[in-house]
Each structure stands twice: as C-alpha cells, then as structure tokens.
Amino acid sequence: MSVLGQAVRTYLAAQTGYSTYLPGGISPDQTGQGNTSQPYAVYQSMSRQRQRLTSGAVAATTERVQVTVVGETRSSAQASANWIASKITASPSRQTVGSLFIHHWRVEDEVSANEVYQDGSDESARIISVEIVGTYTE
C-alpha cells in the first residue's frame, strides 16, 4: 500500500471539485468492486526510499506513486488528470495530510494511453497516468 498515495487520496478528497472530476473516487491498486462511475483514479506505489540516521531512525521518506485516471473520453480523463495536477501544484510544500507530514510533493511524468488490452480494438476507457513524487515524515 502506498503511504503517499493514501495521503494524495485524503488530500484530493477534501478539495473542491472532487466529486465533479473524480465521481468514481480514488482507490488503491484497482477501483472498488461495482464502481460504474467515471472518471475514477487508482494509485500504486512505484518506489520508496528512506533516509536514515546512524540510529536507524528514518528522517524522511521519498516515494513515487502513480495515479492512474480512467475516463470514458479523452477529454474527461484529461480534465481529471489536470485537476489532480493543479491541486497538488496549488499546495506543494509543508503540510500535514492525515498522519503524514509532507515536506513537498510534485507532479512529474504524465502518460496517456487508450489501449488497455493491447488488442487493437477501440476501448471504452481512456487512461492518463500521473506520477507524483513526495518526501514525507511519518
């Protein structure tokens, strides 16, 4: 489970426009069973690095999390991805989210795709993956 991803979800869920841009919500790994609302987003941890003292205590952790937005149309998926990016960018620095103290977080790569199954057929889902990198103290 992505610790940073949880914080991103907590943070975004409290932002204005959440129900508009992500009516399907944000879930870890895959969307909730039975969810029919789009766009929705899922998150997964890509990497996590800890900085330690000689005592072994963790001073800070840097994590890269991938948030994947799924929408029925390219424009809806893009609008939701843009909304996520704008909310992260709007509050990039020191803050407490849930139980985490976020030193900073930022949006890095963004990748679009519409071939989920790689079978050449048109599919109903348009996907945008946004990578968020953040450093936090638990």
């Binding site: 900085q51 330690r52 003292l53 000689t54 005592s55 072994g56 001073a59 800070a60 990198v133 450093t135």
Partner: protein, 136 residues
C-alpha cells in the same frame, strides 16, 4: 570479531561540567585522526636520522546532522553555533550498541567549524557539518 554498525547508535553533545545535553540527529561521523608528532634528535655525527615521539595531536572529529527545525530558535544548528560562540568545552559521546564499548569513542573539545546546509531543491534532508577540535 568485526564490528558492524548496527541500528541504535546515538550521539550526544554535553557541556563539560554542565547538565546541558542534546541528542544529535547524526547521519554520519568522521572520526578523529590522532597523530604523534616526531622530534628529530639527529646529531651532527650521526649517519642516520633519529626521531623520537613528541606530543600527540588528538585531531578533529566531524559529524553531519540533519536540520531539525521543529523549533526554529532552538534547533541543533542554533544550539551548536551558540556553543561555538560561547567557546563551550563540549563532550561528544557516541553510544554504540553493545555493552562494553560505550566509552570507546568520546571526544572532548571545542566546536571549530559549523557548515550551514547546502540549499538545493531536492528530496534529501538538509544536513550541516560540524567540526570539533579535540582538546584532550
């Protein structure tokens, strides 16, 4: 048996003769080089240089801490700079995990250099380096 640094090592700075003590947020410690000066006593008639041990220089020890800014006025950087300003004789005590080596690496001396953290955008914690002249 070789000693591999385990988790649990702590470093404290304490005033000599005082109660003031802080536990440092140490990320690394570079130990002192204790060197022995040699005095030359070669006579004019000697064909080989002769040297004998003279005084010992206890050297300097430096350690790197991360910047703990939970209280801006009293963070460790400020505290250590105050020790430098006040020329406070200080004991750096390393408590390595293990029952018989707690006093192995103790240094008594004065804060000689304090390097402010390098400021660059990144994910690393901010660190500053302190160099202490060992005086005894």
């Amino acid at each position: 048996m070789a000693y591999v640094l385990p988790s649990g090592t702590t470093a404290t700075l304490t005033d000599v003769g005082g109660a003031s003590s802080i536990t440092l947020n140490v990320t690394s410690i570079t130990g002192a080089t204790r060197s022995q000066a040699m005095a030359e006593i070669t006579g004019l008639g000697d064909s080989v240089l002769k040297r004998i041990p003279a005084r010992i220089d206890p050297g300097t020890v430096s350690f790197e801490c991360y910047l703990d800014d939970t209280a801006t006025a009293t963070n460790h950087l400020t505290v250590i700079k105050a020790r430098q300003t006040n020329k406070t004789q200080t004991v750096l005590n390393l408590d390595l995990p293990g029952s018989t080596i707690d006093d192995l690496l103790d240094y008594t001396g004065y804060i000689m250099e304090v390097t402010d953290p390098q400021i660059a955008l990144g994910d690393d914690v901010l660190r500053f380096t302190v160099t202490m002249q060992v005086s005894a």
